[in-house]
């Protein structure tokens, strides 16, 4: 069953986007990326270090054929985000950008108003913008309206692993926008990713849940499977919930033995 999806000009079969930060080692990072089945991975732009160690990351990802999604992590203003996106395009040769405009260092939550302004500016500059946003359906719709290639609402604050705090908002967002909905931040374990897909989201972006697991490679594989499972379950259509019990096995044709019970056995 082919089930590809498009984000901007990319067509992807995997619905897992994976971050590259916080892994025990680069070897484990590359194994985790492979185990997850991801095709699109996030990177940050930072000052080159004499060691040049980061060069290895870039080459390592490109050689392995991953599409890169540079982020604007650490940006608190529209200007910072736009400049960072321009530098990322220059360095990595991609129009894709994960737009993050953070409101403050305490909550690390996105600044909805500045994110919309930055998104609108970047779209005009020819970027394919994937904005990190809160789970407000109104802000998500505005981001779609200004031309973003997708919207990326959070499940819970970044790094908390609290899972999907507000499923109702995610389904509202899914029903309000026509672009892909990618759940970004807050996923804690495999079932959270499955739930995101069951709510109708198109993909999941993960980092800490995988990188900080005791076994990042196993967790990456778990996430890849969970996302497929949730996607399939959504498309299959769940059996209706009901308040009262209903037998799976039919009573028809049941044998009659009760007559033979001694009274003491009767319940």
């Amino acid at each position: 069953m082919s089930d590809t999806w498009k984000v901007g000009s990319l067509e992807l079969s995997s619905r897992v986007l994976l971050g590259t930060a916080r892994y025990p080692s680069q070897a484990i990072l590359f194994d985790a990326l492979a185990a997850s089945g991801t095709q699109l991975v996030t990177v940050a732009l930072r000052r080159v270090r004499p060691t040049g160690g980061e060069g290895d990351l870039y080459r390592g990802l490109v050689e392995r054929g991953y599409h890169l999604l540079p982020n604007t992590a650490g940006c608190f203003t529209v200007k910072e985000a736009v400049t960072t996106a321009e530098l990322a395009r220059e360095a990595l040769g991609t129009n894709l950008v994960k737009l993050e405009v953070i409101a403050d260092e305490e909550t690390l939550l996105p600044d909805p108003e500045a994110t919309v302004r930055a998104a609108s500016d970047l779209v005009a500059r020819g970027f394919e913008v994937l904005p990190y946003t809160n789970d407000d359906p109104v802000t998500a719709r505005r981001l779609a309206d200004v031309g973003c290639a997708a919207v990326m609402p959070l499940a819970a604050p970044i790094g908390t692993g609290l899972g999907i705090r507000n499923p109702h908002n995610l389904s509202l967002i899914r029903s309000l926008v026509d672009v892909p909905v990618i759940v970004d931040a807050g996923i804690g374990t495999a079932s959270d990713a499955a739930i995101a897909m069951e709510l109708g989201c198109d993909a999941v972006l993960l980092n800490t849940a995988v990188a900080r697991s005791d076994d990042p490679v196993a967790m990456a594989r778990a996430m890849g499977l969970a996302v497929q499972a949730g996607r399939l379950a959504r498309r299959a259509g769940r059996a209706p919930r009901q308040h009262l019990a209903e037998a799976s096995t039919s009573m028809s044709g049941v044998a009659a033995f009760r007559a033979y019970e001694s009274s003491k056995e009767m319940d």
Binding site: L45, R59, T83
Partner: protein, 65 residues
């Protein structure tokens, strides 16, 4: 000539192009981008000469979420 490269003061002999200052910190020929005084300097313009007190940012892709 005094400039600032990735936040560190550096003394350069004039003239010094963007490309030359990039080479001081990395041999990477791809995956690198440069901003001078907050403006992107596209690869095609790396021959441009730096001016005294320029603030140069030389960035590469690194681990990010």
């Amino acid at each position: 000539m005094n400039v600032v490269v990735n936040g560190e003061p550096v003394v350069l002999e004039e003239p010094c192009s963007v490309e030359q200052v990039v080479r001081r910190v990395t041999a990477a020929t791809e995956g690198v981008a440069v901003a001078v005084n907050g403006e992107v300097v596209r690869r095609a313009a790396w021959a441009t000469a730096l001016q005294p007190d320029d603030e140069v940012e030389i960035l590469v892709a690194t681990a990010g979420g």
